[in-house]
């Protein structure tokens, strides 16, 4: 019965992505005395706007040889004026450390375009060498794939050892191999890999697609390879079918 309870229990949460419009308080220089005064001025102009307003503090635009930051004090200044700092946008390790010590979220600086060009060679960060693409084993399916079912081989090849019914859908970032009759849809290289191919023993597909270039059964049916062992690859943005 426990199983039933687990199944019946409605999920108590869900995860959602969202874009929120937030105000960013971007400091040009770390000068808390003046910040306090200038903020007071600003808030006076529109007290409603700043009342309990969630904000992001940004200190990544401050010069590197700026005054040392008293983060605790910066936070209390913001709160005094009614703002609620949610996170700190920073680049320097000391600032990030300080934020972590105060349990304040740290967010990375915005897009590289906005970042000032580093003047000193020592500033240029050497990017870590690109990681070797690690080997992801192909996804192997041994049972028939029925109408309404969808199989996705993420980041790898898909190998199906059984029939793929009309109304079923195969998706792979890499190649697709089908050793039973292929009557459903097969979409290879769905992340834009134009080198991906589809191999099948019996081509009776509803649709074949490589990197978004597709052919539907209407066209495939007229091909002399219909019902035969076929290889499909992309040549000059055209699907090319050839006998296996």
């Amino acid at each position: 019965m426990n199983q039933v309870n687990n199944l019946e229990q409605a999920p108590v949460f869900q995860l959602k992505g969202s874009m929120l419009a937030l105000t960013i308080l971007e400091l040009t220089t770390i000068d808390l005395e003046h910040l306090d005064i200038q903020l007071a001025d600003k808030v006076e102009q529109a007290p409603q706007f700043f009342q309990d307003a969630p904000i992001i503090l940004a200190i990544d635009k401050c010069a590197e040889n700026d005054n040392p930051l008293d983060l605790q004090r910066l936070l209390s200044i913001c709160r005094k004026h009614g703002m609620l700092p949610l996170a700190l946008r920073a680049v320097s390790p000391e600032h990030i450390q300080a934020a972590k010590a105060l349990d304040l979220a740290v967010i990375p600086p915005t897009g590289a375009r906005e970042r000032p060009v580093a003047l000193h060679p020592k500033d240029t960060v050497v990017p870590p060498p690109a990681a070797e693409p690690s080997y992801i084993p192909a996804k192997i399916i041994t049972h028939p794939i029925r109408s309404g079912q969808q199989i996705y081989a993420k980041g790898t090849d898909l190998i199906v050892m059984a029939a793929v019914s009309a109304g079923a859908e195969l998706l792979a970032d890499g190649h697709i191999h089908v050793y039973g009759p292929l009557r459903g849809r097969a979409l290879a290289g769905i992340n834009g890999n134009t080198e991906a191919r589809i191999f099948c023993q019996y081509m009776g597909a509803e649709m074949l697609s490589i990197a978004g270039h597709y052919k539907v059964a209407e066209d495939l049916r007229r091909d002399p390879l219909w019902g035969k062992a076929t290889q499909i690859c992309l040549v000059k943005e055209q699907l090319e079918l050839s006998a296996l």
Partner: protein, 271 residues
């Protein structure tokens, strides 16, 4: 060891209830204690086909809601000692079935009976899902036409992914295919999918091929399961299917166009 068997199809009107009645009766005829449960709440039909519509007092939903006990709701077949029917409610809809309720009733039935046959409603929604959720084996009823075959294919996919067995990672539901309303003449004329076509598309074992027969309509109007009409081809084909379900190896009959004798050719004559 009792067995829960769901008769399902996806598509409506292909002969699920006729099959449930015939297979259930066939099992009881062979001495197995059997109950047939109508899951088609709101479109109750099984009682008509079994000829017990005048004796329905309590139904499946009453048992789930606790208005009646299981033994009060079970209807004993008048012809066979081992056969019982649990009717669906005609005044409610599928939402009246709950997963816990269905599980409780089926578990209780499985204690009393060797075979629990669940007659699934059409579609792939709640009613059909609950009918197949606890099944150990399934008979997928298909007509030899493309839309029915595709719906059955979809149903087979759901059986292998949405059942309790699948969710618990146990041995999957045993799948059987039953082809009904088969007409060898029309297959020969190329108007109908052949047994081989259907078997190839669905790639599962065929448990029986029931020929298109006048006997089926007659039987359901009289409230007598067609399997009891031993002279009819459909009745015999259902008997064979029951034998195969019980593990016997019986050759398929009625797959070819019957050869007409000289006299029949002269005088026509219908079977």
């Amino acid at each position: 060891m009792s067995k829960i068997l769901v008769v399902t199809s996806g598509k409506g009107g292909v002969g699920k209830t006729t099959t449930s009645a015939a297979i259930g009766t066939g099992l009881a005829l062979r001495g197995h204690r059997t109950v047939i449960v109508d899951f088609d709440v709101g479109l109750r039909n099984l009682d008509l086909i079994m000829g017990c519509e005048r004796r329905v007092v309590y139904d499946f939903v009453n048992v789930i809601n606790g208005d009646a006990t299981l033994n009060q709701a079970l209807i004993k077949d008048k012809r066979l000692e081992n056969l019982y029917i649990l009717a669906a409610s005609q005044t409610r809809d599928k939402d009246a079935l709950t997963q816990e309720g269905v599980e409780k009733v089926l578990t209780e039935l499985a204690e009393q009976f060797e075979y629990v046959i669940c007659d699934s409603p059409a579609g792939i929604e709640k009613g059909a899902h609950l009918a197949m959720y606890l099944a150990d084996a399934a008979i997928v009823v298909t007509n030899p036409e493309v839309s029915s075959v595709r719906d059955s294919d979809r149903m087979l996919g759901l059986l292998s992914s949405k059942s309790k067995r699948a969710e618990e990672g146990r041995e999957p539901i045993t799948e059987h295919l039953l082809l009904t309303r088969y007409s060898p003449e029309r297959v020969e004329r190329g108007e109908m999918l052949s047994v081989e076509d259907v078997e190839e598309i669905l790639s599962i074992q065929m448990i029986g091929v029931i020929p298109e027969s006048q006997a089926v309509l007659k039987a359901s109007n009289q409230g007598v399961p067609v399997i009891l009409d031993e002279d009819s081809d459909a009745g015999q084909a259902y008997s064979d299917a029951v034998e195969r379900l019980l593990g016997k190896d019986v050759p398929h009959r009625f797959l070819d166009v019957p050869k007409k004798g000289f006299l029949k050719r002269m005088f026509g004559g219908k079977e």
